[in-house]
């Protein structure tokens, strides 16, 4: 199972209290993971990436295994530790404001 950590406001919107576990077919990519997340929690569609273009929302960031995955191609395989469920894929609201 793939583990996904959502920021507070998206947990509230999705109605989940902690990290989310998802079945994602191989190869586990950012796009496949977000497809599965949005299929399970339709309220999240459009909040992480644009629902038409698929482009990441500008103030949302992705982290996995201590690395920033925000600028990696959506179809690039995620780290094996994420695919194996050992490490979570983290959706993070960017720091903004004063």
């Amino acid at each position: 199972m793939i583990r996904v950590v959502l920021p507070h406001h998206l947990r509230t919107l999705a109605g989940v209290r902690k990290e989310v576990e998802l079945e994602v077919a191989e190869p586990v990519t950012q796009a496949a993971l977000l497809d599965a997340l949005e299929a399970r929690y339709p309220a999240l569609r459009g909040t992480i990436r644009d629902s038409v273009s698929g482009q990441r929302c500008s103030l949302v960031r992705f982290f996995a295994c201590g690395q920033d995955w925000s600028h990696e191609p959506a179809d690039a395989p995620l780290p094996a530790a994420v695919a194996a469920g050992a490490e979570p894929f983290m959706v993070v609201g960017a720091m903004a404001g004063g």
Binding site: P7, H8, H9, T12, L13, A43, T47, V52
Partner: protein
């Protein structure tokens, strides 16, 4: 005994304030959608327990929520606001053309005629309609054909913030856009015409005959007199007696005719309310005195309503959607401030008291009377 429900949108969530018809003892529910910007909430006049809320975030975009039980529980509905065809461009701050881009929903206006129909006014300015209770949205693109390439954003963005429905003519709607002006459709939203003749905006629009480009802040109508419209413009309080075909100024003796909201008394079509703000550069009441002004003559002659409102050192603003009236026999008037206060008057504005004092900045106030 009736119940009064006040729906308050703020920078950090929604609040629902309820009272019996005496309007002296209020219960506060919220924050709903804590931490999110709630630009507007409004209930259906045909099904008052159906309430729509515009929920947005600079991080996570636009959500639309609907409650079917008076705000006790909510569920997200459709949020795909896709402009019809090639969206094209509008005028940018520097005079160049800029692509139309959806940013947020400023206003949700349930239909007077059909409980499943609701309008959404959005930024960048356009009007959308849902006929399935918010599940899906379709633009009424004829509006942007009314010189849309000449529309430009005001300081708050290029937003469609006001929808007024003619209760006697289901084909007639009015909208207002900052900074494009006022528009009317007489065919249910297919075609639109600018209705800005008589508006004067010398500093921003040197052309006295400019059809669009006016910064209209709010429009109000009494349902018994649908051809009479009142407008708070950027500067100037205006009136039209012919459904917007021509406007004339009724600012009269106001201490400042800059402001954002305007409202009409529920039972007196010639009684109107505004909240003067010092200027476009200083968004707070003149002299630090929070005063609602009431005209019982449809404009020009105004009286300050001050009882119960702070008359020293008050520097809040009252935004365009943050003034509303109820329909009880002694008309209630309500407004919210950027300082987080919601004030209520149960006697048409003669006296005021705060319902709550310390909410986040208030963006919108709507009122429902429930039998």
């Amino acid at each position: 005994m009736s119940t009064v429900r006040v729906l308050v949108g703020t920078r950090k969530g929604a609040f629902i304030l309820t009272s019996d018809e005496r309007r002296t003892d209020w219960q506060v529910s919220g924050p709903h959608f804590a931490g999110w910007e709630i630009y507007h909430l409004k209930g259906s006049p045909l099904n008052p327990n159906r309430i729509y809320a515009s929920q947005s975030s600079g991080w996570f975009g636009q959500i639309v929520q609907r409650s079917d039980d008076g705000g006790q529980t909510w569920a997200p509905v459709g949020k795909d606001f896709v402009y019809e065809g090639v969206p094209g461009t509008h005028q940018w701050y520097d005079g160049t053309q800029h692509p139309w881009e959806f940013k947020r929903v400023w206003l949700l206006e349930p239909s007077l005629l059909d409980p499943d129909t609701v309008y959404a006014g959005v930024e960048d300015a356009a009007l959308f309609r849902s006929t399935d209770s918010g599940q899906s949205w379709q633009e009424l693109p004829g509006l942007r054909s009314a010189h849309g390439h000449l529309w430009q954003p005001g300081a708050g963005g290029m937003c469609l913030h006001t929808v007024v429905q003619d209760p006697g003519d289901p084909q007639r709607l009015y909208v207002a856009i900052s900074a494009a002006g006022a528009f009317r459709t007489d065919d249910g939203g297919v075609t639109w015409q600018p209705i800005n003749r008589g508006l004067k905006s010398e500093w921003e629009l040197p052309d006295p005959n400019a059809e669009v480009g006016h910064c209209v802040h709010s429009i109000a109508m009494h349902p018994a007199r649908p051809g009479v419209l009142f407008m708070q413009k950027h500067w100037d309080v205006m009136r039209s007696d012919n459904a917007g075909d021509e406007w004339y100024e009724v600012s009269g003796n106001l201490p400042s005719d800059f402001g954002f909201p305007i409202a009409v008394h529920a039972h007196e079509p010639e009684t109107i309310y505004v909240v003067p703000i010092k200027s476009d550069s200083e968004h707070y009441p003149p002299e630090g005195k929070l005063r609602v002004y009431r005209s019982r003559t449809g404009g020009n002659a105004w009286e300050a309503l001050t009882v119960g409102l702070p008359q020293t050192d008050c520097y809040v603003n009252v935004l365009r959607s943050a003034l509303a009236v109820d329909t009880l026999p002694s008309c209630g008037v309500y407004f919210g401030t950027t300082g987080g206060q919601v004030y209520a008057s149960a006697d048409s504005g003669d006296s005021w008291a705060p319902i709550v004092r310390d909410l986040p900045p208030v963006l919108s106030v709507e009122v429902q009377v429930l039998s």
